[in-house]
């Protein structure tokens, strides 16, 4: 069964990386949405309650990852959609801040395709568990 995923990042390179990861193996064949800033990302999240997982970069122009999470919490927008906050060189404090802002999990750069695959598998398993 195909799932939908959203990637929010201001780096074109990172979007290419996600495309590459999702073009192979078990992740191939899913629907992918891409946004290059937090504002666009939030709009896509609002349009797609069916998203299986969102990869949200922390440092972005216009609206950063934490601002997206804060707005989503304030507006209670699709709380069932898990969001992974992606960043470089985070500290434990950042991680705590992200989780308290509503992030489902945290992904530190540099990451490998296997890290993404693990997160997707866990998100899908949790969704299936809560649906059962």
């Amino acid at each position: 069964m195909a799932h939908a995923f959203l990637f929010v990042d201001d780096s074109a390179l990172h979007h290419q990386m996600y495309r590459l990861i999702f073009s192979r193996g078990a992740l191939a064949g899913n629907t992918l949405y891409h946004a290059t800033n937090g504002r666009e990302g939030y709009a896509l999240l609002a349009q797609h309650p069916e998203l299986a997982l969102v990869f949200l970069d922390l440092n972005m122009p216009e609206m950063n990852g934490l601002e997206v999470l804060a707005r989503r919490a304030a507006e209670r927008l699709h709380p069932q959609v898990p969001i992974v906050l992606v960043t470089t060189e985070s500290t434990e404090d950042d991680e705590v801040r992200a989780r308290s802002a509503g992030a489902w999990d945290y992904l530190r750069k540099p990451f490998q395709p296997a890290d993404v695959e693990r997160l997707v598998a866990r998100a899908l398993a949790e969704a299936a568990g809560s649906a059962a």
Binding site: L13, H14, Q16, L20, I21, N59, T88, K109, P113
Partner: protein, 187 residues
């Protein structure tokens, strides 16, 4: 994981397309900061955006397994932070390292397909680390002051006409001079 066996190796062209303009913008801005500081017209407000561009280059390099470039971008970020912390205090030694490192970073990103290793980068990294430590300890202050005094002395001796040129542009400058000289000979 090295760049050769990196999972995103096939995206090396996309990496250069995204990171080269950022590295060039950072290098140009650092030259500008130095020029404006020398002229006494500020320039430190450029360091914030420069840190942002370096941060992106660092993150992307890490993803691509380009460790030498990641390390240079990280060291430049640290030097920017050290310079910002010192405020208006003289930071000539730090700025000279930043300008040199900015040029190196551009060359490294340009040569990313070959791993991003360029001559002089290792030595620069060691000097940058020492300078960042020195700045953190406040030890660089006296050396900078001595350097500033030496510069002021040199300027007083008539060396104020010296202009620093980003070494990436030196080839273009030399080519222009050669063309002009040859045209002058023809006429």
């Amino acid at each position: 994981m090295s760049a050769e066996d990196n999972a995103f190796r096939e995206l090396i062209d996309e990496y250069v397309v995204e990171c080269l303009p950022l590295a060039e913008r950072a290098a140009d801005a650092l030259v500008d900061v130095e020029r404006r500081r020398r002229a006494g017209t500020g320039g430190d407000e450029l360091l914030g955006p420069v840190k942002g561009w370096l941060h992106t280059v660092k993150g992307n390099s890490a993803m691509m397994g380009l460790t030498p470039i990641q390390e240079s971008a990280h060291a430049l970020e640290d030097l920017c932070a050290a310079l910002i912390e010192r405020g208006g205090d003289d930071g000539d030694a730090l700025l000279a390292l930043l300008v040199e490192g900015g040029g190196l970073l551009v060359d490294q990103v340009r040569g990313a397909a070959a791993g991003g290793t360029v001559e002089g980068a290792t030595g620069w990294l060691a000097r940058a680390a020492a300078a960042a430590r020195g700045a953190a300890n406040g030890n660089g202050k006296a050396a900078d002051r001595r350097r500033s005094e030496r510069r002021r002395g040199a300027e007083a001796d008539g060396a104020a006409n010296v202009v620093r040129v980003d070494f990436r542009r030196l080839d273009t400058l030399l080519a222009d001079i050669t063309d002009t000289t040859q045209e002058g000979k023809k006429t």
